[in-house]
Amino acid sequence: MRRSFLLAAVAASLATSGCVQTRQFADLQFTPPQGDYKLLVLRPDVQVSSVTTGGLPEARADWTEQARANVIAALRAQQADRGGKTLVLERRDSLPGLSAEQVAEMERLNAAVSQSIALHKYSGYTLPTKRRRGLEYTLGQDAIEFGRRTGYDYALFMHAEDSFASGGRVALQVLGIAGCFVGFCAPNIGGAGQFAYASLVDLRTGEVVWFNVLQTGSQIAGIKMGDIRSPDGAAQMVERLLGRMKPGRDVRRAQRARS
């Protein structure tokens, strides 16, 4: 009786431990870019690792190269579908009219603001002054200047990582599940999965208009919910991250009122 209860519990945890989560925030007046817009994607940061038996992420250069190429291709295809003209900047010095240093400064500014967003919107340290106001962050005058000099309407910053359990990690997981039969149960040692975030800046106003975080993974080492090393997997991640851009609250209310 006790054993069958245990097995049911394990089965339940196996069933619920894999998931894909996204959580997005938008400026109250945000409308997803449509039609004829120009988007600049700044150096997408991609990292693929293998998870060692002990749970350490070990960077894999070959997988990372593959995934970066796939993610960039998927981004281009996805934005073309929306009607935008996209330039994916792969190096800091490949933007005409701006020095590598100026691009670096924009990246650092965005990194600082993104950290703030992560802290106050995702980590639970909510600010009373920003409650129920959607996404209220800006990169300021510098971003407007950046847009004016480059001629782009939007800048997209993106980071994506993926990891895969090594053979040893999977073996450890098998042991952990086998242990359930003798009363030492470790059915979800986890350790592999995807994590990505994107931040969209309107270069005409300098505001961060949309921000999304994607987490994909299962608690069972060896079971994957995606794989950005393959073109299809990369397209899937880009779709999960950027495909379902919701308009801001005020815009949604206005749409509802009209309908």
């Binding site: 940061d45 990292q47 690792s49 060692t52 038996t53 002990g54 749970g55 350490l56 070990e58 960077a59 894999r60 250069a61 070959d62 990372t64 800091r92 590598a100 240093e101 670096a104 040893g168 450890l172 042991l175 952990g176 086998a178 242990g179 003798v182 009363g183 030492f184 470790a186």
Partner: protein, 406 residues
């Protein structure tokens, strides 16, 4: 076979483990002759884990190279690059060196062969031989592939630990014994051995480093002196703050204790010193290379508000002779302690600073102000006039002029 592990057994096991790792604190010195560089010129990784590590470092180096913390003095940067070229062993031509404006005694080597030197290190070194010692220590990390070896040690030990805990747990589960305490103990033991390995690698770098500078013709004893200076600084800093100094003897340390390093380096230097050979200290070259940034370095140190450390650093530099710049910053540090006793001493420092031809304009300013406060207005005015003639465009010049008129 159902008796749980008793608390007494557990404590005994823990004590044995701690004793085993504690010996790491007093590791035997590594002989410089026992080490050989593991890489040659133009090294590129071929192993999978190292390839991944190098790729990750590309963006890190790009970020470091473009950081606004870097000091841009072109001559000084060329000088540092030349120095790593002298003591970098087989990889001398491959390594890159960056100077960051951070007022701390530190330097870091990254896995791909670029190093970041903190400006606080340059302030503390008395000559080129001492600086060469630190750069050689960092080079040795790269030559001995320390970062990837450390990572592999971590990977191996965490692999073993996780399998052992899992198998132990299952065996315990089958036998009805709770093994959670043992697993935690094993985890602590693993962490201690990782730290111990790190200390061993640092000792290796010291040993190969001192050999590299000896081969380049620098006095081998200079590395040991650096540690002697650091110990003196830590002790005085703690004393002024009325705290106990952190002497770095701990099984949780990442580096060997400074005193251990000093003693080992002295012994290694004795081994390497060839009697009758003339060793270079390069003091003149060093002072010339640093002349442009020395005031900034001293100013940054004073503003750390660590009076004991500042006092030690200035006094150790003054062993090679006092000058106006050192006396002025001694005065600054004393003045910022802001009590009557130290104001009196600060006044003396400014007074002796202005006796040197290289006294900065601000030394005249504060000398004048302290003279005014001491009720010697005529001398004070003369000093302030001297300040205005040296720094006519100082932000407070109109104010001082007004003061002299009234």
């Amino acid at each position: 076979m159902t008796t749980a592990l008793s608390r007494r057994q557990l404590i005994a096991a823990g004590a044995a483990l701690a004793a085993a790792s504690a010996t790491g604190v007093a590791d035997a010195r590594i002989a410089p002759s026992s080490l050989q560089p593991l890489i040659g010129p133009g090294y590129r990784p071929t192993d999978r884990d190292e390839l991944g590590m190098w790729q990750q470092m590309q963006r890190v180096e790009e970020e470091v190279a473009g950081s606004n913390l870097l000091m841009k003095d072109a001559g000084l940067n060329r000088y540092l690059q030349g120095l790593i070229g002298k003591v970098g062993g087989p990889a001398a031509r491959d390594m890159r060196i960056y100077l960051a404006r951070i007022p701390e005694f530190n330097a870091v080597m990254f896995p791909t062969g670029f190093t970041v030197i903190f400006s606080g290190l340059l302030l503390r070194m008395r000559d080129e031989a001492q600086l060469a010692g630190v750069i050689a220590h960092e080079s040795a990390h790269f030559l001995l592939k320390h970062q990837i070896r450390q990572y592999r040690d971590l990977r191996r030990k965490s692999d073993v630990l996780s399998f052992a805990s899992m198998l132990g747990g299952i065996a315990g589960g089958a036998a009805g014994v709770y093994t959670g305490d043992l697993a935690q103990l094993a985890q602590l033991g693993t962490i201690l051995t990782l730290l111990r390995y790190n200390r061993q690698l640092e000792a290796e770098s010291d040993a190969l480093g001192v050999r590299l500078i000896a081969e380049a013709g620098y006095a081998p004893l200079s590395m040991s002196e650096t540690w002697e200076q650091l110990i003196g600084e830590i002790e005085l800093s703690a004393k002024v703050r009325r705290k106990r100094p952190d002497r770095g003897y701990s099984i949780f340390s990442t580096h060997p204790a400074p005193r251990t390093r000093m003693v080992d380096l002295r012994a290694s230097a004795a081994e390497l010193t060839v009697p009758g050979r003339a060793y270079d200290r390069g003091r003149e070259r060093y002072l010339a290379a640093l002349s442009g940034i020395r005031p900034t370095l001293l100013d940054d140190q004073v503003k750390l508000n660590d009076a004991g450390a500042t006092q030690y650093v200035i006094q150790s530099l003054a062993q090679d002779g006092w000058n106006g710049l050192l006396r002025f910053h001694e005065g600054e540090s004393l003045r910022l302690r802001n009590s009557q006793k130290y104001h009196d001493r600060a006044a003396l420092s400014y007074a002796s600073a202005v006796a040197f031809p290289d006294a900065p304009a601000d030394a005249w300013r504060w000398h004048g102000i302290y003279l005014m406060k001491a009720g010697r207005p005529a001398e004070g005015r003369t000093a302030l006039q001297r300040y205005l003639s040296l720094a006519p465009n100082a932000p407070d010049a109109p104010f001082v002029r007004q003061m002299l008129v009234s």
